[in-house]
Symmetry: C2
Subunit: 323 residues, 2 copies
């Protein structure tokens, strides 16, 4: 602990588009923010060198000594024990990349790495909408659907750290094919790509006029479906209601499985709002026990785009109960 | 620790039909077994007095001092922090019953209470098919479907201890109605009652001859369906294949969510064997990540009817990592 009462850590969020780096204090003060492009086409060695340089620059600017640790939120699957990224669809060519060890070497600091969903759960628990909770489920509704689970203050991530793939829990045995190769995953209903795909299907029919118009000649995205729905288009509203119902079923399962205090929902698709979240909320009672859901609240993420960055900081800060 | 190198605890499994009590050692030696009828119609006060007398008798017979603790596996939902049973379908009239405090009073011992699914998971980890694992999912396929989850050596049971209701995770958004009031729960496909119900439906059709014959004039049970299937009846085989496929989908979800080392399957319905478990195993790859399932094995419970009793002992013995 520093004399000012707050420890400071270096937080890194490795994204497909940007590398975000910042200094974060135990109190959640975020300073010295940087966010250059990842430029993943340069290959992992250069991306990692870029991360090392960023961390060293920010640490120097903030006047941090070598004892301030680094937390990294990375796309997965990765092994949090070794810091090795197995592969990741968002960063082409990454296979068995020793992200953690390389960063530790290049910065001379203690480095912890976890996947972005798990980091986000830690971030929401320490700094965000889940503050004070020790049993939390985080759901990231974005292009894909990610997640993180905290049980009694600790991450639930399994023997190799590959757990909490909440987007790939089955909600429909005979449902749509998912990009993961599976069938009927939550993601295949509520991910950005899934909502866009449903929109595309409708756009080819007589009911698709409003959605087509919202797409303005481009591909039909979740955003176009949301726009048409917000303008009152019944076909678009029905697409979001279907996605919301599947989301509610999955939340019901998570409520029964984890008995959490809070389910925090983040990601760009969550920003669609009530047209998606209303049907979700309505369907939860059909898929969960009263006893379990009556001690649970649902909250939107309060950390926005910085959820994983705050999560990386929370990871570096360690378990509050261990401090 | 006793001089002989093994601590001994008193284990109690409160079932709808029998109360099982025994002394269990850290090495898993089970002695002084008792198993009188629960006679739950007498009301909870008498049932609890019966449990107190049993524990005191067994403790006296085994020559145990007052420091040997008691572990209790009880139907739930219950609050493991207070030992209060909220209610339980198997024991009529039980509502907010202070099972743990009453047993502590009546025996003068330290008493821990957990629901039978969670206890069973602890039992399988310490004494059974999950020995040595720290990340384990237990599934009890019986009249209903229960479960327990252990992550990094600790129970995942949520803020009030109501978690791990694995039988009530959704596998089919638009599936059959479950006895819990929900829709498309795993239990509504693979529980004894669900298989019996499917059998009854088929028994009213031209394809139902073999199942009807197996029921011998009584109600169509899961046992009758299993018997007809084992005799080669295609309709009965199809019922079990459908249940097995739903089981495989749920296991796929649990593999993605928990990244466990082992999934232990117990309960009477599991004894049906390959006609149910074969289709389950076949469908798992359609519902899970390669990375997650490649570090996981599936094992049948090796503790049989004593799973919850060994689990109650494991509960009383505490977390091995804390010892």
């Amino acid at each position: 602990m520093a004399a000012d009462g707050g420890q400071q850590v270096l937080a890194v969020d490795l994204g497909g588009t940007n590398i975000r780096v910042a200094v974060v204090s135990t109190e959640g003060e975020l300073t010295y923010r940087r966010g250059p492009r990842t430029d993943s086409k340069d290959g992992h060695a250069r991306v990692i060198q870029r991360m090392i340089d960023l961390v060293n620059d920010v640490a120097a600017a903030a006047g941090l000594g070598p004892d301030n640790p680094v937390g990294v939120a990375s796309p997965g699957p990765l092994d949090p024990n070794t810091g090795i990224v197995l592969f990741t669809p968002n960063l082409p060519g990454w296979r068995d990349v020793p992200l953690g060890p390389s960063l530790a070497d290049g910065t001379g600091r203690r480095v912890s790495v976890a996947n972005d969903g798990n980091c986000a759960a830690l971030g929401e628990m320490r700094f965000g909408s889940g503050k004070g909770a020790r049993n939390l489920v985080y759901l990231a509704l974005g292009t894909g659907v990610g997640g993180g689970v905290i049980s009694d203050g600790r991450l639930v991530d399994g023997i190799r750290g590959f757990g909490a793939e909440l987007g790939h829990s089955v909600v429909a045995l005979d449902g749509p094919r998912c990009t993961c190769g599976g069938i009927g995953c939550l993601e295949s209903f509520v991910a950005g790509w899934a909502i866009g795909y449903e929109g595309e299907l409708v756009a080819t029919t007589a009911d698709g006029e409003a959605i087509l118009a919202a797409a303005r000649g481009g591909p039909v995205t979740a955003g176009a479906v949301a726009k048409a729905a917000q303008d009152g288009d019944p076909a678009a509203i029905a697409i979001l209601a279907r996605a919301g119902r599947a989301l509610g079923a999955a939340i019901g399962s998570f409520v029964n499985i984890f008995n959490p205090e809070v389910i925090v929902i983040g990601g760009g698709v969550a920003a669609i709002g009530e047209l998606l979240l209303g049907p979700a909320r309505q369907s939860i009672p059909s898929y969960s026990f009263v006893a379990n859901r009556s001690c649970m609240r649902i909250a939107l993420s309060s950390l926005g785009d910085d959820t994983a960055l705050f999560g990386a900081a929370a990871l570096a800060l360690g378990n509050p109960t261990d401090m």
